[in-house]
């Protein structure tokens, strides 16, 4: 039982990271109907930037965190402007390929700038543990869970109470109507990309202590797809819930099932869910007009 709880907690921590990446997908998908296959790479870029700020420049962890998030917000808007804006309205297939191309470019640039060695950062949570009875919880894992809760609360408040947040909601519900109401839809798209890059960057920095930072970190983004699909691809709480589910499934199957199942567990769950409920667990069933 102790093993089980231990695995569930590490699963929840990993799942929160998946959830945060999935949150990035969902934000962009809801507003622009684009699925961003480069989300994992954006997260990786955030993690690598934190290495530069913390290890190379020797800045304080919290300050670095802030700087990284701001830098990623700007980069996110630039990516939207350069790659996504020109192909607004193209078939989804083309847009998906463009984001895959963007992912390839980011991964290659990261490899050229930071090299291909594994890197690590020092955080205030490194090596700390927290014990409840016999249960051992690493500070790292706890920091991820707490940060996810805080981020979700912040996002909720942003979408609920700020003018920009409400404008974004309007854009994602009906672009044309939002445009008629005087909402600058294109600027909203850039802002959404910034926001999603910020969330991805936070995920990357939080993840950095538990896995080393390396050039293949971006593949975690692909693992976040099952999370987003489980959550229905359109629901913010759904994305986090999906992420946590995938994290728990993965960590339990790594512990109880033979080797090899851990890597594919997420995809097996994904296919099963898609067969059973094609719109995801939290999705809406929409019938498309001609």
């Amino acid at each position: 039982m102790l093993d089980f709880t231990q695995q569930v907690i590490s699963g929840v921590a990993l799942g929160c990271v998946y959830g945060l990446i999935a949150l990035g997908f969902v934000l962009i998908y809801k507003a622009t109907e684009v699925v961003n296959f480069a989300q994992g790479e954006i997260m990786m870029l955030g993690a690598f930037m934190s290495v530069t700020f913390i290890t190379t420049l020797g800045l304080n962890y919290w300050l670095s965190f802030l700087l990284c998030v701001i830098a990623m917000a700007i980069l996110g808007a630039i990516m939207e402007r350069l790659v996504l804006r020109p192909i607004l309205g193209y078939p989804q297939f083309s847009i998906v390929m463009a984001t895959i191309g963007l992912g390839l470019v980011i991964r290659a640039l990261v490899g050229i700038i930071w090299g291909t060695d594994d890197l690590r950062i020092e955080t205030p949570f490194t090596d700390g543990v927290f014990t409840v009875g016999k249960l051992v919880i690493a500070w790292d894992a706890l920091s991820i869970i707490v940060a996810t809760i805080l981020l979700c609360a912040a996002l909720y408040a942003f979408f609920r109470y700020t003018r920009v947040g409400i404008a974004m909601q309007a854009t994602s519900q009906n672009m044309l109507a939002a445009y008629y109401m005087g909402i600058p839809v294109k600027r909203m798209f850039s802002l959404i990309w910034s926001l999603s890059a910020m969330v991805a960057c936070a995920a990357g920095i939080l993840l950095a202590p538990i896995t080393l930072i390396h050039a293949n970190l971006g593949f975690l983004g692909i693992k976040a797809f099952p999370a987003a699909v489980l959550g229905g691809f359109g629901s913010i709480p759904g994305a986090v819930a999906g992420g946590i589910t995938i994290g728990i499934v993965e960590s339990l199957s790594g512990f109880y099932l033979p080797e090899g199942f851990k890597d594919v567990a997420a995809y097996v769950v994904l296919l099963a869910v898609l067969l059973w409920k094609p719109q995801g667990l939290f999705g809406l069933n929409a019938i498309k007009k001609v």
């Binding site: 895959i100 963007l102 390839l104 050229i112 007009k289």
Partner: protein, 380 residues
């Protein structure tokens, strides 16, 4: 510009657009048949790779270009075809039997993947095929009694009717299969099945209203596409003569999608153009890798820059040129540039160049420009 007058329903989609086209295709075929006697073995080997990629391109064209279904997991079908071949050959099945059977077997796998596709569309389908590819890759790595796991399988050279096929023999086998696959694909596209595919691509709801059994045709498209990829997989296994799971990873699937994006989704010719581009990009990049430092060196010397600046520039150039991820950087940029500036692919460019010369002094730029696209919501 001469207009073709149609006098028969059969004229509306002939196998070859004109007599002249038939002649040029015959010339191309004759050239390819003569190729082993005319070019070096390195280029012959590249030609074989081009043909294998072209077969995969044709398969993806049927699925994505014609039927409008997305797949970013086609490396899995290539893997299934390749492993089927390796195992069949080990058990002494002759080539004439296992080559088509690899197609049939992979086609069945494709049919099974097509089943979820009935209920999914767009992005969900793309993700489902991605998940399928990961699962296949993992199964191949773990099912050691059949696939020998990560150590991979060696394949003896193929033999046809007891004769060992050498380099040239294998080249002709690939050529034959490629020609047959392309002819089959053209015929599928101009049959009622092909027209149903297009109807589904353009609007699934409208196709269903017209009485097209969308479920049947979507699974058919998947099965056909997978089957053709499986045949390509069989040839690929023989070409490489060694297969292991990491040869069928996600990046291979992305390469395959690049074939049709770069070549153009509209026609089969695009698949061939895309295959040529993807295969020839590698040797081209290697040549550039050698040449670029020389060019930058010559340039800095020509500008009489101070030695320290020259050295710094040279070091920078060498660092970029020798960077491990350079190829994916260039490929990523190519994908983005093609999608933004050439959505019809190389094939679209080819058609425009052809139209320019046909209408020579009267050609207008505006007429060739693709129509503007507007954002259409996929939601209600």
């Amino acid at each position: 510009m001469a207009h073709h007058v149609r006098t028969d329903y059969g004229d509306s989609d002939p196998l070859f657009p004109s007599k002249a086209a038939m002649f040029w295709y015959a010339v191309l075929l004759a050239g390819l048949i003569a190729a082993p006697y005319m070019i070096e073995s390195y280029y012959l080997s590249q030609l074989v790779f081009i043909m294998i990629y072209a077969i995969v391109g044709v398969a993806l064209n049927i699925l994505s270009g014609q039927a409008g279904q997305v797949s970013i997991g086609h490396a899995a079908f290539l893997a299934i075809g390749a492993y089927f071949t390796a195992v069949a050959q080990k058990h002494g099945v002759p080539l004439v039997l296992y080559l088509p059977l690899a197609g049939v077997f992979t086609g069945i796998a494709g049919y099974l993947v097509g089943l979820p596709a009935l209920r999914l569309h767009g992005i969900y389908l793309a993700i489902a095929t991605l998940a399928f590819a990961f699962i296949v890759e993992e199964i191949i790595a773990r099912w050691e009694s059949v696939t020998n796991g990560n150590e991979g399988l060696m394949l003896p050279p193929p033999s046809l009717f007891g004769l060992k096929l050498g380099t040239e023999g294998f080249y002709y086998l690939c050529l034959l299969v490629t020609v047959l696959v392309i002819l089959a694909a053209i015929n599928i596209i101009r049959s009622s099945t092909g027209r149903s595919f297009m109807a589904i691509r353009d609007s699934e709801t409208a196709a269903r209203s017209m009485g097209i059994d969308t479920a049947r045709y979507k699974t058919t498209a998947f099965a056909l596409s997978a089957g053709i990829t499986g045949i390509a997989g069989a040839l690929y296994a023989h070409k490489m003569s060694f297969i292991s799971p990491e040869m069928f990873s996600l990046s291979v699937s992305i390469d395959f999608v690049m074939i049709i994006i770069i070549g153009g989704l509209v026609s089969l010719r695009g698949a061939v153009f895309g295959a040529i581009f993807m295969i020839m990009a590698d040797p081209l990049l290697i040549i550039l890798k050698d040449k670029v430092p020389l060019w930058s060196d010559a340039l800095t010397h020509a500008l009489y820059l101070p030695d320290s600046v020259t050295a710094a520039i040279q070091a920078g150039v060498l660092r970029v040129v020798n960077a491990p991820g350079l190829k994916s950087l260039i490929f990523g940029i190519i994908i983005i540039v093609f999608i933004i500036h050439e959505p019809m692919g190389l094939d679209g460019r080819w058609l425009r160049v052809k139209a320019y010369f046909k209408q020579f002094p009267l050609a207008r730029q505006r007429a060739a420009r693709p129509p503007r696209m507007f954002l259409k919501s996929e939601r209600r």
